[in-house]
């Protein structure tokens, strides 16, 4: 019995951003970074998309299809989401095309002798056993099952060949629940990642083993994970729990403390303190700074205590990491891309290495 998964990455327009609650909108904290959903951004070395695909693969899912908004595909590189995996990537243009393209993929899967398809509206990170959902549907002869936690739907459905796609489509588009779809309640860890606070909460929960996700890299001492190629100066101090991503450089006299995480290709300069903060990939943090209760991504700083999003246009303080930007330039030059000058113009789209 073959099983497939269709993962839908919507644009962050409100129509798709069904997980962002009203209170988070009011707080002024975004559920995306410059239009890129948090589920596509690397957190502790892997994105939620990658972690979700890994979970499905471990449960024996054979085929993966990613459906993404065309505007999103211009910014993120889904081709190398899982190196070595065969993943079909399709795009759709705008809200009106979402369900027709899902329906097309579903019919395509069912024609290829796939009996069960998981439909996942990406956003939330949820820990559940896909096989348990399959057993629940199989033993009760349900053709369509939605996955719920105690707060409501998490945007995951299991559909088989006899499922009513019209009612599934209605539910997918947030037009009310349909009685023909049964509910599977999960009791595992769920993080809806609807705003930046949730991103930090996910990092802390992973560090404190409140969920089964693990940081990438090697745990060099209790609570300190360091990924390949990271350089930590001998005079830098890292207080566990902490995560240092691939090819990241931590300068002398810097202090990483209180569950802080630094993703790949970052540079934390001399004497800077990172406290209860996450630095997303490809970011430079200047000399002698005090970064507290924040998420930093390129030149954007989100202060979680003050619910404030700031763009700091001063590369002496924070900005894109030069080394990662140069690497991007060289990569583009290999592909006979335009000159460095023209790349600089759209650097805000290219310097974040944490997106896929």
């Amino acid at each position: 019995m073959k099983t497939a998964a269709i993962l839908v990455l919507g644009s962050p327009a409100p129509a798709y951003n069904f997980l962002a609650s009203d209170d988070s909108q009011a707080a002024g904290c975004p559920g995306d970074i410059a239009g890129i959903p948090l589920s596509c951004i690397e957190i502790l070395g892997a994105s939620i998309l990658q972690r979700t695909m890994q979970r499905f693969a471990e449960a024996g899912v054979d085929s993966f299809t990613i459906l993404a908004d065309a505007s999103l595909l211009k910014v993120i590189k889904l081709a190398n989401v899982m190196p070595g995996w065969l993943v079909k990537i399709n795009s759709f243009q705008g809200e009106a095309e979402v369900w027709p393209s899902i329906e097309h993929s579903l019919k395509n899967d069912f024609e290829n002798e796939i009996s069960n398809v998981f439909l996942v509206k990406l956003g939330a990170y949820a820990e559940f056993d896909p096989n348990a959902v399959g057993e629940f549907a199989g033993s009760n002869h349900h053709s369509a099952v939605r996955v719920h936690d105690r707060l409501g739907a998490i945007g995951t459905w299991l559909l088989n060949q006899s499922a009513d796609l019209e009612s599934a489509g209605k539910e997918f588009q947030n037009r009310g629940q349909d009685a023909s779809i049964k509910t599977y309640f999960l009791e595992g860890y769920v993080n809806r990642l609807s705003r930046m606070h949730d991103l930090r909460r996910f990092v802390v929960d992973v560090f404190l083993s409140r969920c089964s996700a693990q940081p990438q890299g090697t745990e060099i001492k209790a609570g300190v994970w360091i990924d390949d190629g990271a350089q930590v100066h001998k005079q830098a101090r890292i207080v566990p729990p902490a995560y240092i991503g691939k090819n990241t450089r931590i300068g002398p006299a810097s202090l990483i403390t209180r569950s802080s995480s630094i993703e790949r290709d970052c540079n934390v300069d001399y004497g800077t303190v990172l406290e209860d903060s996450s630095v997303l990939a490809g970011t430079y943090i200047g000399t002698g700074l005090d970064v507290t209760h924040s998420v930093v991504c390129g030149n954007m700083l989100v202060h979680l205590n003050q619910n404030l999003v700031m763009e700091i246009n001063d590369e002496i303080l924070i900005g894109a990491n030069v080394t990662s930007r140069l690497r991007e330039v060289f990569r583009r030059q290999d592909k006979k891309a335009p000159s460095i000058k023209s790349i600089k113009k759209d650097e805000h789209q290219t310097h974040w290495k944490g997106i896929l």
């Binding site: 200047g286 507290t292 404030l308 700031m310 700091i312 246009n313 001063d314 303080l317």
Partner: protein, 140 residues
Amino acid sequence: MKTGRPVLVMQLPSRLNLSQAREFLPEVMAVLRNDRPHIVFDFSEVQQIDSAGVEMLLKCLERVMSLDGDLKLASLTPQASVILELTRVDRLFEIFASVNAAVESFRGFAARESHPAAASAWYGTQLPGNARAGNERLAG
């Protein structure tokens, strides 16, 4: 202790970047001729501040301190507050919620009016009785 010196309140521009700081710094330096100047920087309109703006603040503070005066900050916007915290400059200044509170703080003991806890700590270590007790403890 009372002081009758005038307090100069200066409104900072909305963007405190390199070009604005270059324009603003001579204006401040021009008024820093008298002894013990009392200055309040009003941040209520500051929406953007970068490292040049922070450097300008430090230059002003250095100059004011060299003249035995004081420079206080008032009405910080969240943006300015985050940058000052980020650059660790916030701990160098007395910061007040409003310009009036900052001006009033020059009229008496600043520490007592701005931060009662800080004031009591100051008295606790500086009063002769306490100093004697501390010395006695050290001697013991």
